[in-house]
Symmetry: C2
DNA sequence: GCGAATTGGTTGACATGTCATCCAATCTAG
DNA sequence: CTAGATTGGATGACATGTCAACCAATTCGC
């Protein structure tokens, strides 16, 4: 069977998406390090932590939310720990587990970084879109996410029933 | 001045975009390594090279197209060179320069990887979107790219006239 | 209970990316 | 022409990410 290549409009969307991705990343990373001394991964960790009631989360729970491997998170946390942004505590329920805890410095870092970061996200993305485009992006991305999260739908051909 | 945080729909779009990014990356990388033994960066290098008439491009020209630093590209090329996918040749016009050349093996690699890769892009993204959404994504991403590429527009406040 | 399988997390080796520096070739101004 | 600035690219040191192996605590089957 011949390959269905991308037609002109599909190609335009795909190339545009990848270029946008890359440029947006570069700019947001630049802004973050310059204004707050944080990398994007740092920001994401702190941000997810700060959204929980007391700034604490099981390592695996945090990894799942971020779509990171436990290994990656563990490595990253040791680095952030050395900079005083987070600490690890032992887990009461499960002696294997560890709980990641936002330090005061970490809380401060994310709180002072957030306004500038959000402003950059607005300036370089959100505020450039019409309301309809914002909704379209929301709808389309969630559809893609749901699809990728469902192992059955992800396969090339229909899967045998469970 | 208070921060203009993202409202619910903007937040939904922004989070969705980032999750989509991540999951799509993971899946496409998985598919590429598994089916073709290439990483996404490998694929991009080969792809850009193969789009030129004779599979040759100045290193800096390639770096610019890919939005990579020359350093990154240079490192990556030495690795790809060791695997026999590309070679470097001296540049006739400019003795400092070097020309990146697609080898036969490199050409073969991209040609055999492309169909599966495009199919994955379709399956996990393009074919999940309505034609209107494809166009919207194309339009919006190009707008963002143009904005980020223009140093004047990128700044927080209006720049002084040139 | 108890041994086997599983899970949560860490670690080390290695691949990849970034940053600053360096060198040689080119360009520019006088 | 030629000294100084700039450019194209390579390189080494270091930060980050991945993968496989590992260890200890938990869970599962019986």
């Amino acid at each position: 069977m011949g390959t269905r290549w991308l037609d002109e409009r599909e190609d335009r969307a795909w190339r545009g998406y990848r270029r946008m991705r890359r440029l947006l990343d570069l700019e947001l990373a630049r802004q973050l390090t310059q204004d707050a001394g944080l990398s994007e991964p740092d920001y994401d960790v702190l941000s997810d932590l700060s959204e929980t009631p007391r700034g604490r989360l099981r390592l695996s729970e945090l990894a799942d939310r971020m779509l990171w491997s436990r290994s990656r998170l563990s490595h990253h946390l040791t680095r952030m720990q050395q900079r005083g942004l987070v600490t690890r505590e032992e887990c009461a329920d499960d002696a294997r587990g560890s709980v990641v805890v936002l330090t005061t410095a970490g809380r401060q870092a994310i709180e002072s970084a957030a306004p500038g970061h959000v402003a950059a996200v607005r300036r370089h993305l959100i505020d450039l879109l019409t309301p309809a485009e914002v909704d379209a992006l929301g709808a389309l991305s969630h559809r893609v996410v749901d699809h990728l999260a469902d192992p059955d739908l992800r396969a090339t051909r229909p899967q045998p029933e469970a």
